[in-house]
Amino acid sequence: MKALAGYLAGLLFGLGLAVSGMTDPARVIGFLDVAGAWDPTLIFVLGGAVVTTFIGYRLVWRRQAPVLDVRFQLPTRRDLDGRLLGGAALFGIGWGLTGYCPGPAVASLPGLSWPLALFLIAMVAGWWLARRFSPAH
């Protein structure tokens, strides 16, 4: 049942990315290119996703626990630190260079090209490196 839940959530996510145009790096770069021919599409994607999630979370949090597990697993930290902001900055450089963040990069697998394959392999290497630098893991 948990795997089915994971699949359905992934399917909705992948459909959402494709329908919204986020599987197109040109649309993403068009949004980030504020000094060029600005493409506002990403604002609508993020807005629609955040508002839906905001409402949806508050509805499901009325339960004591999720349907298929014993508790909600939410991050509890509220402090800002160098690892968080430095990591976000490194991610921003990579995102701006190519227009790919993890979701759209993986959702674009059905249209795999050599540049995308290289990006995905390097991204996995980056995750591995980050875990080596993280004392928590």
């Binding site: 430095g86 674009s108 490196l129």
Partner: protein, 152 residues
Amino acid sequence: METMSALQGLLGGVLIGLSATLLMGLLGRIAGVGGILSGLLFERGGDRPWRLAFLLGIVSGPGLLILSGLDWSNVAGDSGAVVGAPASGLAAMLIAGLLVGLGTGLGSGCTSGHGVCGLARLSPRSMAATLVFVLVAMLTVFVSRHMLGGSV
């Protein structure tokens, strides 16, 4: 066509929000794609089956659209395509992939984990991270496109 693109963006965003709600309601988890996939590859334990299923799901979304031939996608300048072509060269893709992996790993989140789920939770860490990665990405595009002339 600008209005159509905005409407598709909104609809796709709502689908992503429903996905995040489903994952929280059923499994109690944050729908952060970077965290889910990094966990699938580098952590042992009981989370592997649903994480693997999530990966299959996210790939099969666009995959099913391609197979069905439905024109529901929103690729700029190519109405028939579901997946847009990479806009960068091999070197940029390699460096960027490494930075995206390292950055989302160290910063504990990506556009979905911080940008969608974190903002919806009103998490101060996610608000700060989202502000930083959006502004740095905009600056990166400005430098690479307008100062270096798109040669990156």
